[in-house]
């Protein structure tokens, strides 16, 4: 990326609204370009000024009318206004609300395969390279708005290799990378509030095997070219929890079997 391109994206970069690939390109450029770094600082200063300095609170009169404890909006004026509104404003309130993170499943599946393939081909398998969960877990701190569970599964034949940040379904997610023999297993996990737990479901997508489940508000996807039988032995997967535990276990599956 050159300075001209970076200038175009810098504002969205400051807002953390860019995808991961572009973010990394810009960071790379910023590391070597004093001019663009200065431009970013200046932009951040302006943002800070705007965010902190200028705000008009609702005047006391309006607050008294609406907001005071026990006060009520003067609805007696509502009927005539509502009538006028229905004539003039029928098109005003078209709120095309699409809930975030509601992805068509096939689209998400495709994204997961793409991220998996990209991680293998594009030399971007790992952002943090360590077999130690005590190194991998803290690495995500501050980079995500949640803390992914990172389990040591080496005694079950899955070696932790590391982790990286990825982008799925319109949000940054954690990808944990395990290895069994020569097979890489990408385990994506991200929170999805308000969704019920879901038993593991095997998938076969574009020649890869995947399994996904939901537990404790977290969405899990494991994908690999490992055969499906071995992949489903991944002890994170709640289907292989001991019989005494249910799918709706209070602790995230796999964690309780963590030897550490």
């Amino acid at each position: 990326m050159n300075c001209h391109e970076v200038e175009k994206w810098l504002s969205a970069y400051e807002d953390r609204e860019l995808d991961l690939a572009r973010t990394l390109e810009i960071e790379e450029h910023l590391a070597e370009c004093a001019g663009c770094s200065a431009a970013l600082r200046k932009m951040e200063e302006t943002s800070a000024l705007l965010a902190s300095a200028v705000r008009f609170p609702a005047p006391p009169e309006l607050r008294r009318r609406f907001g005071a404890p026990g006060a009520r909006i003067p609805w007696h004026t509502a009927p005539w206004l509502a009538a006028a509104a229905s004539l003039a404003l029928a098109v005003v309130v078209v709120w095309r609300y699409a809930p975030p993170a509601q992805h068509a499943p096939d689209l998400l599946e495709r994204d997961i395969v793409q991220e998996h393939v990209r991680s293998l081909l594009a030399d971007h398998l790992l952002d943090v390279n360590s077999p130690d969960r005590q190194t991998v877990k803290p690495w995500f701190r501050g980079k995500l708005d949640y803390a992914p569970e990172v389990a040591d599964l080496s005694s079950q034949g899955f070696e932790l290799v590391g982790g990286r940040l990825d982008y799925l379904g319109g949000r940054a997610v954690s990808a944990l990378v395990y290895q069994r023999a020569q097979h890489v297993i990408n385990v994506f996990v991200w929170p999805e509030a308000g969704q019920p737990d879901q038993a593991p479901q095997p998938h076969s997508i574009a020649g890869f095997n995947a399994v996904n489940w939901r537990s404790k508000g977290m969405n899990w996807w494991a994908i690999s070219d490992l055969n499906s039988v071995e992949l489903e032995e991944l002890p994170l997967c709640p289907c292989f929890m001991p019989p005494s535990r249910t799918l709706h276990a209070a602790t995230p599956p796999g964690m309780t079997r963590n030897p550490s």
Binding site: L10, S11, A12, E17, L50, R63, F66, W75, W95
Partner: protein, 183 residues
């Protein structure tokens, strides 16, 4: 139908509405104040907006109440501006408003750090409303590009470029730069 039952339902509906919308009163007023430019019209626009929001509350499905309200406040503001014939500054294309940068503050604000509150207010007021509204929604309300896109009914790419240009323009106004960018 039992009138008492109907009354109760309406009362409940209002209670739900107030619980969902009154917490956003300050934010709604701030947005209106920046869009219409004076306290009196802002107050009227907010009251209009709340009454409209009540009328259409059944269309609200409980997600992102602030964004839903903001879309209504924004519409109420632009309608008010039309009514009071100040629409010139609002509905002309951005390109024809390059001259807005002429209202830049004096040389005392040559550096951003020295820009005081009044200078920033004046700078923001000088911006074309297309830029001003996205800056207010982003910088003061911390809304995501996706939320802003829904409020202003424009694609996310438009939100992105308006924010980029708006910030650049505001910096130029604040620091008295004369650099001319191509829009």
């Amino acid at each position: 139908m039992d009138p008492g039952e109907l009354h109760l339902t309406e009362k409940e509906r209002r209670a739900r509405f107030e619980a969902a919308m009154l917490p956003h009163l300050d934010a709604a007023y701030n947005l209106a104040r920046w869009l219409v430019g004076n306290p009196h019209d802002a107050e009227d626009a907010v009251q209009d907006a709340y009454l409209r929001a009540l009328t259409y509350f059944d269309a609200f499905h409980g997600e992102d109440g602030r964004g839903w309200l903001f879309a209504i406040v924004r519409n109420a503001c632009y309608q008010r501006l039309r009514k009071i014939r100040r629409s010139v500054a609002v509905f002309e294309p951005v390109e024809s408003l390059e001259a807005a940068a002429d209202h830049k503050p004096g040389p005392e604000a040559l550096h951003l750090r020295e820009a005081d509150r009044q200078t920033i207010e004046r700078g923001l007021e000088c911006l074309p409303p297309e830029y001003r509204e996205v800056l207010v929604l982003r910088e003061m309300e911390g809304m995501s590009y996706k939320q802003i896109a829904r409020i202003i009914e424009a694609p996310i790419g438009t939100v992105m470029s308006r924010l980029a240009r708006g910030r650049r323009r505001l910096q130029e106004i604040l620091t008295g730069e004369t650099r001319k960018e191509t829009v």
